[in-house]
Amino acid sequence: MNLFGDPAIWLPFTFAALMGVSILVYVVLDGFDLGVGVLFPFATDDEKDMMVASIGPFWDANETWLVLAIGLLLVAFPTAHGTILTALYLPVAIMLIGLILRGVAFEFRVKAPTPHKATWNWLFFAGSLMTSLAQGFMLGKYVMGLESTWGTWAFASITAVFLTVAYSMIGACWLILKTETQLQAKAVTWAKGGIWGLVLGLGAVSLATPLVSPRIFDKWFTMPEIFYLAPLPILSAVMVLFLWRSLQRLPNPTDAGARAPFSYAIALYILAFGGLAYSFYPYVVPEQLTIYEAASAPESLMIILVGAIFVIPMIGGYTALAYWVFKGKAAELRYD
């Protein structure tokens, strides 16, 4: 493959990579704040306020990565965009309704009259749960090649639950990092519980993907690929182990290692995502449409790429600024 010769080859590849990175950043960032929403019912009212305070300054920018990812799919692979989204019509609608409810609940729960707060809290949880389940369902359907049978439906329901657990796990790790005392102790318990869901989910997808597609099976289980790829599952197992051990040491009086679980969780997400990306490349619609067949005109992609080269580092810069401004333990959210 001549990466820097023919623009009809390297442009779609670049855009697939950009899209992959956006999806990865999205599932890590919105993953943790959706997870915090899913954990809502297990917290007291004061803890709920603190949980929202820990994600309040970030959630909006986190969600923007989804818009970028879907935007890149739309602009770089227009034919795939239509095929994927019409095949996922109902889960997309459920996700959107979840995102709507959750996004407005951030604002309404503190601005509406006090008696309404409980309702908005409930809607915040319901919205986060709907969004997580719908995204997990879509992942499952995608892994199953967007087919609609009882089997794929059942598998997608399982991935829906596992992704939700995975989100709440990374959400709990975020809370360990951002909170103190009782809430932090609770978050440690939540994270420990979440690990099992994560491991089962990773296992299910890892087993199902090669079984559904002989092509993916061959990509993983032939010589010498199997050796190059072996670090992926091995590193994942090591990360799970590290994560477990770091949780055993928390909470502690000096708050040492409070950052560790979140870092290991991110590493796990990256590894899992890398595995999926390797499996599906070069297809954008599994087994039907490759990124090269679905790509837009090279002229249009070039126009976007020129902008992206300047703009994406800037986005990274000011995102980092925002996380730096709100570093440390979460504090009560005030407009002054």
Binding site: T86, Y89, A93, I97, L99, L101, F108, Y335
Partner: protein, 462 residues
Amino acid sequence: MDTLMLSRIQFGANISFHILFPTITIALGWVLLFFKLRYNATGNVRWMEAYRFWVKVFALSFAMGVVSGITMSFQFGTNWPGFMETVGNIAGPLLAYEVMTAFFLEAVFLGIMLFGFSRVPGWLHTLATFLVAFGTSMSAFWIIVLNSWMHTPQGFEMREGVAFATNWFEIIFNPSMPYRFTHMMLASGLTVAFLLAGLSAFRWLLGDRSNGVRVTLKTGVYMGALLIPVQIFMGDMHGLNTLEYQPQKVAAMEGNWETQSNVPLLLFAIPDEEARENRMEVGIPNMASIILKHKADGVVPGLNDFVAEDGTVMHPPVAPVFWSFRIMVGTGFAMLFLSWAAAFLMLRKKRGPEGIPTFMYYAMVPMAFSGWVATLAGWYTTEIGRQPWLVQGVLTTEMAVADVPAPFVGTTLAAYLSIYALLLAAYVGVLFFLARKGVDGDVPRPRTPLSGQAIAREIPAE
């Protein structure tokens, strides 16, 4: 109903709901920057009070805009795949630039603007306010570029049914873009002006005479009074541009069936598409010709020119365009009368908000959302007015619709409609609740900003 009709209703409902909130945030971002800069310059706490109240309205409106905007970006794919498949090479880069230059900017700096006041230096907070306002306007710019291009497409060629860009300068600066963009920005300014005036009048009527209420009331009234004549002028220019590029739309707006001279300006009529004539016409003789052609015997195109030999109607449905245009113009004139009268009374002998009689405060409260009425009516005029085209002369709406079962679309439509109704009621309710809460004295004093120079102090009103 079939998938096409349900999808059209769904997208229409979505975009109608969505547009309400950017219409507020685009101009409100700049108004907040104005409040912040006045505060920085004078150190007067009343500007900070104004900022603190209206930043809540901004945050709420922004969240509503974000979530409904995400919904729209997905609906391109779920309901209108033909759109991206045909003109994706042009729409794609424009949408990508919106996300890259605007969305991230506003979303990231919003957090600092809302919650960073006591965490960052004063200058950085002011900069964050500016960047949010700038990002919101950039977002509007890219969306309106795309929308205008769909009305007046140029700078492309069709190859095997797919549009390819040939000249990006022509695509971005397409003939209707400058008019549409200015018209929309002014619409946002007016919406915010009347919202400022309306909510402040509500607080005034409840007995709040604080300086924060005074300055926002004045800002709203003066802003409305200044912008409305400019908007009427711009609207007229936009109309002339539409006459040049989409004459069938103007014919529907005027309710004019035959191409003829001496066309009257209809104040009232019931367009009857079956009979292809108007019933119960009341009009000003020659006026439409004078407005559109600047002479009494100017020839104005009629709807019957847009019916093909085989009877296919290639002009928009007449009644909705005709009526929404009249609602927009009528609301505009109500804005003109109210804001000019109030501004005149406030300016007279420098009497400020005290100079306005009570009944005018009562008039301002329902006018708080007049900007929404005018914006939606204008939106329907221009968007229904381009039917049956999605992209004028290139792609019809019918060609773009997804092959999704009608019951699916019906189900999601019902879900969206009920959620939108709930949220709209909650939004308006919370706005008035916040206004009432301010009156009850539940306004903690602002903290000293981190920069330390601008220490808040109360300065009596002039």
